[in-house]
C-alpha cells in the first residue's frame, strides 16, 4: 500500500514539474512533427510511388504514420533520461533517500510521469497525422490493442531511459546517450520497407525491436498482415521493461555520488 501511495505522490510531483516546465514536453513532439511534414510533403510523392501499386503522397502518409508514432516514443526517451539525471543532481532526492519511504517510488514516479508525457505526445502527433489526412481502416478494438501494445513498449523504453538517466554522471551525457534510439525507426521499417535495404542493414532492420512494433501498429491501424509481429513486439517490450526496471533499481540503490 505504501509503495502505491508513495509512487502516486512522486507522480504528482513529476506531473507538476511537467506543467511548470513544458519545454521538454514540446521538444518530444517537435522532431517527429518535423519528420512527418518533411517526409510526407518533400519526399512523400516519390516514396509513395516507390511503395508500388501506383501509390502517392496519401499512401505514403498512411505508411509513415506508424513510424512517426514510434519516433515520438523514441524521442521521449531523451526527455526521460534528462529529467531523471537532472533530478538526481537536486538536493531533494538526497532528502528522499533519507526518508522512510518506499525506495523505488522515486524512479517509479518518474517512469509513470514520463509515460503519461510520452503517450500525450503520441496523441498529439497522431492527431496531426489525422489532420493531414491519415485514416485508419480498422475499428476501435484494434485501436485499443494498438494502444495496449504501444503502452507496454513505452513502459519498457521509459524504464530503460530512466536507467540511462541514472547512469549518466551529468545532464549533458544524459541528453546524448539515448540519441541512437532516435534513429532506430529510420533503420527499420518506419519510413521505407526493409526489403528495399541492402544485406546487412536489412538484417539489422528486420531484427531490431522497432520494426515489429511498427509492423504491429500498421496491422492494427491499416489492416496489413500481422504475421508474428505482435508476439515479437510484446516479447521485446516485456524484455526491455524487465532489464530497464532491474537496472534502474540497481543504479538508484547505489551510493549517490554527491
Amino acid at each position: 500500500m505504501n509503495a502505491l501511495h508513495d509512487s502516486a505522490t512522486m507522480l504528482r510531483r513529476n506531473l507538476r514539474h511537467m506543467l511548470r516546465y513544458p519545454t521538454l514536453t514540446l521538444m518530444i513532439i517537435g522532431m517527429p512533427i518535423v519528420f512527418l511534414l518533411l517526409f510526407v510533403y518533400v519526399f512523400g510523392g516519390t516514396l509513395g510511388a516507390g511503395l508500388g501499386q501506383a501509390g502517392g503522397r496519401a499512401d505514403y502518409l498512411a505508411y509513415v504514420t506508424p513510424g512517426i508514432i514510434l519516433m515520438t516514443v523514441a524521442s521521449a526517451t531523451t526527455a526521460t533520461a534528462v529529467t531523471v539525471a537532472t533530478d538526481m543532481t537536486e538536493g531533494i532526492v538526497a532528502r528522499f533517500r533519507t526518508m522512510a519511504i518506499t525506495r523505488a517510488s522515486v524512479p517509479t514516479g518518474h517512469v509513470l510521469g514520463s509515460m503519461i508525457q510520452t503517450l500525450l505526445g503520441v496523441a498529439v502527433v497522431t492527431g496531426i497525422a489525422v489532420l493531414l489526412g491519415f485514416r485508419s481502416t480498422t475499428g476501435p478494438l484494434q485501436w485499443l490493442a494498438a494502444l495496449g501494445i504501444l503502452t507496454l513498449f513505452v513502459l519498457g523504453l521509459t524504464w530503460l531511459s530512466a536507467a540511462l538517466g541514472l547512469l549518466s554522471p551529468t545532464v549533458e551525457i544524459a541528453s546524448n546517450i539515448p540519441m541512437p534510439l532516435m534513429f532506430l525507426p529510420l533503420f527499420g521499417s518506419g519510413f521505407v520497407p526493409t526489403d528495399s535495404m541492402p544485406g546487412a542493414l536489412r538484417w539489422f532492420a528486420e531484427h531490431q525491436p522497432f520494426t515489429p512494433l511498427i509492423e504491429t501498429l500498421r496491422s492494427l491501424l491499416l489492416g496489413t498482415p500481422m504475421g508474428d509481429n505482435a508476439t515479437v513486439a510484446i516479447a521485446w517490450s516485456a524484455g526491455i521493461a524487465l532489464v530497464g526496471y532491474v537496472w534502474a533499481r540497481k543504479l538508484y540503490n547505489r551510493d549517490p555520488a554527491r
Binding site: R16, G91, R95
Partner: protein
C-alpha cells in the same frame, strides 16, 4: 530511554585510497545539541551522510535512535530528519507544495498535511511566499523552507549540515533561534556540523573537533577552551622606555618591538586585571591601549588543527 541518540564505534570510510573517516567514536545523549567542527574536507559531511543512511560506511558499528544503521535502515530513517549542505527543496514547487509533499510522504493525510504546512509556513515566516516557487526564494528563505520540510513528521533526531553557511548575519541569528526552539520545545537531538566556531559555541552542549578523519578533541565549549592557552592582555605602550620596563617586570608571552606591544598572560578576570593595572601605576609607565583577549574556540580550532597540519 537512556539509550544514546547516536553512537558510533570505530566508524571508517574511505574513497579509494583516501581515508575520510578513520575510526570515529561518538556518543550523543538524546535531547542534546552536538556540534561537529572541522576545517573543509575534514569529513564532516561524510559523517552526516553515513549517519543519515545516505551512503554506506566501510567499517564500524553505528546505532541511530536505538536502531542498527544498516540492518534497520528504514527505522533509522523514520526517526531522523536531514537538512543537508545543498538545498533540498524542490525549486519548481511552491513553498506550500514542498511542505505538502513532505506531509504526503509521511502519510499524514490531507487535512493534517494542510494544517501542518500552514503552521510551519507561519512559524518560519514564509506564509507570504507560500504560493511562490521555491526557486524564487532568497538563500535565507530557502534554508528556512528546507528546515521546515525536515520538521514535517516530527523527527526525533535532526542532522544539520552547515545550516548557516552562506547566510547573512541576520538570517544566521534567525536560524539559531529556530534551532534553540527545537531543542527547548520538542526535546529533539541535534547533530550540527559547522565551520563557524561561534555557532558551535552558541548552540552546542558538546563539541567535537574532526580533523583528517579523526576526532582530535571532544567536550563542552568550556572544556575545549581550557585545552589551549590563549588568554592574555595586549598592552601598547606610549614610549620605548615603558615598553622595556614592562617587558622586564611582567614576563610577557611575546613582544612586538615595532608597535611597542606586549602580550601578557591573563585569565581576563577583574582581580588579575586590577593587579596588572596596579603594577603599571607603580612602575609609572604609560599605556596607550589595553585589550583583553579570552581564549575562544578559534584558538582551540587553530591550535588543534594546526598540530596535525605540522605533523604531516
Amino acid at each position: 530511554m537512556t539509550d544514546p541518540a547516536i553512537s558510533t564505534t570505530g566508524l571508517r570510510k574511505a574513497y579509494g585510497k583516501h581515508l575520510v573517516l578513520d575510526g570515529v567514536d561518538l556518543d550523543i545523549p538524546a535531547g542534546t545539541v552536538f556540534s561537529l567542527l572541522g576545517p573543509n574536507g575534514a569529513g564532516k559531511t561524510t559523517m552526516v551522510k553515513i549517519l543519515s543512511t545516505l551512503i554506506s560506511a566501510d567499517g564500524g558499528d553505528v546505532r541511530v535512535a536505538g536502531h542498527h544503521l544498516t540492518r534497520e535502515a528504514q527505522a533509522v530513517r523514520a526517526a531522523i530528519g536531514v537538512t543537508g549542505q545543498y538545498s533540498a527543496v524542490d525549486g519548481l514547487l511552491t513553498g506550500e507544495e514542498n511542505l505538502r509533499l513532505m506531509a504526503d510522504l509521511h502519510h499524514l493525510g490531507r487535512s493534517r498535511g494542510r494544517e501542518q504546512a500552514r503552521e510551519l509556513l507561519e512559524q518560519f515566516d514564509l506564509a507570504e511566499a507560500a504560493g511562490k516557487p521555491a526557486a524564487t526564494y532568497s538563500g535565507g528563505m530557502r534554508r528556512r523552507l528546507d528546515l521546515a520540510m525536515t520538521l514535517v513528521g516530527a523527527p526525533r533526531i535532526i542532522f544539520l549540515d552547515e545550516p548557516t553557511t552562506g547566510l547573512d548575519p541576520r538570517s544566521r541569528r534567525t536560524m539559531w533561534q529556530i534551532i534553540r526552539g527545537l531543542v527547548a520545545d520538542h526535546g529533539v537531538t541535534i547533530f550540527l556540523t559547522t565551520q563557524y566556531l561561534e555557532e558551535a559555541d552558541q548552540l552546542a552542549d558538546r563539541i567535537a573537533v574532526l580533523d583528517h578523519g579523526k576526532m582530535v578533541a571532544q567536550g563542552t565549549a568550556e572544556e575545549l577552551k581550557r585545552l589551549v592557552p590563549g588568554g592574555h592582555v595586549s598592552l601598547r605602550f606610549a614610549d620605548p622606555h615603558g615598553f622595556e620596563t614592562a617587558s622586564q617586570g611582567l614576563r610577557p608571552i611575546s613582544r612586538e618591538e615595532e608597535t611597542l606591544t606586549l602580550h601578557v598572560p591573563s585569565d581576563g578576570g577583574i582581580r588579575s586585571l586590577r593587579a596588572l593595572l596596579d603594577w603599571l601605576d607603580g612602575a609609572s609607565v604609560t599605556v596607550d591601549e589595553l585589550a583583553v583577549h579570552t581564549p575562544d574556540l578559534d584558538d582551540v580550532f587553530l591550535a588543534l588543527t594546526q598540530e596535525s597540519e605540522s605533523a604531516r
